[in-house]
Symmetry: C2
Subunit: 345 residues, 2 copies
């Protein structure tokens, strides 16, 4: 059996209708809905075929059909028109850019959630490789040294170090010089034992301080944890009856609270259709690879702050989410985000 033109049209009609109503759709509805002018009986036959092909399924005999994951997949891959999104200019709402990128991202999540009525998440930008650009150790008072590290992506990290005995000013100056000359531009991998040994030798009287500093640098460079994820509108999922039974809702909401679960999301493989411009991906059900999301779909996009620095945006909703609108909205948003980040650099 083949998926001919007509079957496609019917499948599309089924999915469209189901997206709207959230209820199983029957042959009569489709028979009226389409421009095919077919009787419900014919539709029934076709539906029977579509079911056999795995694109739709019946919750129980004598109920209408609902799209299967395979059906959604086909729909997303081949049937979305890239129609203009009717979303208003998000930019206005983002315009008061406080300069802090995390505020912007949190706001993006919020705006997106408000606009789509789905749950959203936005990951902070990830830097592909981090190098030390600048290190500075300063004495704050007799008991505290402050270590400031600037990475080549202009991210600044700092940490206090407690010291037992005061360190002379001169030593600090020397230390700074040494640190900057030896470590500058180095990746964490390149800070091998030889380099470290060399440093320690020079300051054998302050090994504890050096140790602390190296530890901080290490942490800073490999820190995976501090990858922020901003979320918004998690409770939107309660709006969709098929997700709002207690067990399912708790599972999904937990995921949004315990954002850690989404960390692996950042590494999800590309799946099916890739939107030319903004890397928009759709994951349906199990494709998300997250058990808690198995009843959801997720649309993601990637934004770039600058070359090699990117983050992701995700929208989570029921499988019957309005893919068309979401993709449109994301496209529009991404363009605007690009602009905003461009302005910044």
């Amino acid at each position: 059996m083949e998926l001919d033109e007509r079957k496609l049209k019917i499948l599309q009609a089924i999915i469209r209708t189901y997206l709207e109503t959230g209820e199983p759709v029957g042959s009569r509805t489709i028979s009226k809905y389409t421009d095919l002018n077919l009787s419900s009986a014919t539709i029934r036959n076709e539906m029977s075929d579509l079911e056999e092909l795995g694109y739709i399924l019946q919750p129980h005999t004598s109920a209408g059909r609902i799209p299967s994951d395979k059906g959604y997949r086909l729909y997303v891959d081949t049937m979305l028109d890239a129609k203009d999104s009717e979303i208003q200019n998000l930019r206005d709402e983002l315009e008061e850019k406080t300069g802090k990128i995390d505020d912007v991202l949190q706001k993006v999540a919020r705006v997106l959630a408000a606009n789509t009525n789905y749950a959203t998440l936005v990951s902070g930008p990830r830097y592909q490789s981090k190098h030390v650009k600048f290190i500075q150790v300063t004495e704050v008072d007799e008991k505290n040294l402050l270590v400031v590290i600037v990475l080549d992506n202009n991210v600044v990290k700092n940490q206090m170090i407690r010291i037992d005995e005061p360190v002379e000013q001169e030593t600090i100056v020397k230390l700074n010089f040494m640190l900057n000359t030896t470590l500058n531009g180095l990746d964490v991998l390149e800070m091998n034992l030889a380099v470290i040994q060399k440093l320690k030798e020079q300051f054998d009287s302050h090994t504890r301080v050096i140790d602390s500093i190296l530890e901080i640098i290490g942490k800073t460079l490999i820190d995976e944890d501090d990858l922020e994820i901003y979320t918004s509108g998690a409770t939107n999922i309660l709006k969709y009856p098929e997700l709002s039974d207690k067990a399912k809702a708790a599972q999904i909401l937990d995921a949004f609270e315990e954002k850690r679960i989404f960390h692996n999301w950042l590494g999800l493989p590309e799946k099916g259709r890739t939107d030319e411009s903004h890397d928009i991906q759709v994951y349906i059900g199990d494709e998300t690879n997250m058990d808690s999301m198995k009843d959801c779909s997720m649309v993601t996009a990637t934004y770039r702050v600058q070359e090699g620095v990117y983050g992701k945006i995700g929208i989570v909703g029921p499988k019957r989410m309005d893919y068309d609108k979401v993709v449109g909205t994301l496209n529009s948003l991404m363009s605007q985000l690009d602009d905003i980040f461009k302005d910044k650099n």
Copy 2:
């Protein structure tokens, strides 16, 4: 009519039973439950009185009684035994103190939620007054200056400033000296125009830089927003049928997502019974002053990191939450937290 001994006992029995079952409790149940050996009829009479006094209410005729807010209040104020909490040593779980206070607090929230089956929130420590202890401006590269500010509570803030033209090393040294001598120890209120004017005069060629720095300092000192609130176990509320209908649940969960709502919580007045040791407060229903919490109760405690630096811990659950256990758990936790923070200083 007076609240005599017997009425109290009956009220207590009603509340205890209701806390367990979550369902209206009838006269017969109480008649069996108590050691009073009274018939259900007598209990009924007493209940009728208690209702008239406002301590309990009937959801509808011919249902049992449930405690009113006033009833809970009385219960919490006078009937809690300070029995030892059976909670295991939380400290073990917190022991791997990563040194970062926010990690510790997030963990506290998590442990607490797991132990109580309620939703928890923990506010980051708040500093009563902030003064500048140390400022440093450094040139990171030709286009960027880095401003590092250390407050007297050892909180470090930093921000980059873009500059159009390079600033000579000498100027920076001078600038640092000036900033530290003029601003050191000052509160934001004390940085009046005179001080600012003086600074600007000295560096009239770099007013833009000075402006940026002052702006950053200002923001740092009055920053209210960066008061972090950590939450955990929000979805626990779905476990309680009386809270898990869609509208209510969404409202409460929203509050936990949009943590901002809890900001005013930090300023809630003391209410009723104050636990001697750890400032444990119970807010019932509207007492929380948050509309979204009107069907919940909230137990809060205050922890102190050091003199004048404190934060709050809150537990949110249904009104029929197990106050006894929660207060016990909090007490135990607070002692352990105190120790942990003591170690740190």
